[in-house]
Amino acid sequence: MNVFGAILAILNVVMILGPVAGVAVIYRDNLQQTVITPQIQDLITASGGNAVNGGSMDLFSGQGFALPQFVSATADVAARSVTLVVNFTNPFNYDLIVNSISADVVCVEHNFNLGYAVLVEPTNLPANQTADFNIACTWTQAAEDHFLTEHTGASSVAAEIVGLTANVNGITIQSDQAYPIGDLPISANIAPPTFVSATPDLAGRSVSIVFDFTNPFNTTLNLDSVSADIVCSQHGFTLGHASLANPVVIPPDATSRFTIICHWTADAEIHFAAQHAGATSIDVDVTGLTVSENGVTVVAPSSYHVPGVPLTG
């Protein structure tokens, strides 16, 4: 019995100490690796820390972790907002989900609060990839006054964000640092399109109207949507709805030409027959001209008069 009890007692000791002793023997040259493996060491190194060597670990200063980079900005004058496109390289082997970002936007030159910025929608950043995400900056009336008084004639203003709060994968990060976001385009110099010419297509029962539009921003604009109503100048009758003939790319600070096409509606044909019987041409107004590009929407403040649009061949 004593022998059996002794065997059990020895078994107890062997079961507990055996595996631990085994690991100690395997890592006898560097016992530190029994707790901090090379893999953990790499993780700490990648995040910029040197805690293992006696220093302090720093999660946000490592080379693998870069702050988001400014890509471009577009303005929506009507909504008093600028949409910033920034990209971020996810250095981890893990998909990150940016749930929210919010910050104040400040004029660098005058340290004036221009408004606030928020993430447009939660964005997925795939592992080890760079992805863009959109941040909407909304400026205040005070900011517009600031633009007019302090930045008269300027098409953009240098800005930075402060008080950044971000939520990534449920982790909330708050920073008191200021992050430059480049030059924000502002509304002062956005001019409506200018009328160039109108060409009727009698066979297609339509009219093509050409405009010039100047891109006031220092970033390329993709003109992807234009709409307008075509109205009989004499009677105020809507003859049709016009839309962009082809997408147009407008280089920074350049003027490009775009064409809208309006097909006469059935009611327009009746209107021509009833009100303009025998007329060979008609004066029309282009109203509510709305230009959209890169999320920027510009509504022309007045209508464009187009005289002598031919109705017959």
Binding site: T34, V35, Q39, N93, I97, I171, Q174
Partner: protein, 205 residues
């Protein structure tokens, strides 16, 4: 001699063996930081960590896990063997060896969890919940002055409760042992010669 079985021990032994098996796959305790950014699956027999997609194990913890597997398995087998043969002369030694293993593992597991929680709270002011959710702010010394708030969620999973049940059954087996051996002793004593003979084989066990 009437055949006896310690059913508490039988159930406790089976529960302990099952517990060791399932604990490899289902953790006793899970800690999640953020939306899966950091995850820790912890059991006495298997522990792994996943930090932003990097899964790793710690060799020392692995050794302790292996020790736990051996420890609990041996305990389960011992108490199973005891349960079907509680009247044997070596039964009490088997019982003593086996019944305490699940209880000991459970106590050590809980004590280490609480100790880890307190150490983190005291050293880096990190409030890690044992269950439920809590928010905590990382020390700014490791975040370049940036305030990083972590949402942490922790929960005990069903194997933990199985471990409690297993420990309870094994403990009950220990106490039930007295009841099933007493009648045996009574019977044995009654058959002994009244005087002048050896009673070596009828020592209380």
């Amino acid at each position: 001699m009437q055949s006896k079985i310690n059913y508490f021990g039988l159930a406790g032994g089976i529960a302990t063996i099952v517990l060791v098996d399932v604990s490899v796959f289902v953790p006793w305790w899970v800690l999640s930081v953020g939306q899966g950014l950091v995850k820790a699956n912890v059991t006495p027999v298997y522990t792994d960590f996943n930090i932003v997609g990097n899964a790793f194990t710690v060799p020392l913890l692995l050794a302790m896990n292996v020790a736990s597997v051996l420890f609990m398995t041996a305990g389960g087998v011992a108490i199973l063997a005891y349960s079907v043969l509680p009247s044997k002369s070596y039964a009490k030694r088997l019982l003593g060896f086996g019944y305490s293993k699940p209880l000991f593992s459970l106590i050590v597991f809980v004590v280490l969890l609480v100790a880890l929680q307190q150490i983190l709270r005291m050293t880096v002011n990190l409030n890690v919940p044992l269950f439920g959710s809590a928010t905590s702010v990382l020390p700014q010394s490791i975040t370049s002055g940036t305030t990083v708030t972590l949402l942490m969620q922790a929960e005990f999973q069903w194997p933990f409760y199985l471990a409690i049940a297993s420990a309870g059954l094994c403990l009950a087996a220990r106490f039930y042992h007295k009841k099933i051996v007493s009648p045996v002793l009574t019977t044995a004593v009654s058959t002994l010669p009244t005087a002048g003979t050896s009673n070596a084989e009828s020592k209380p066990i």
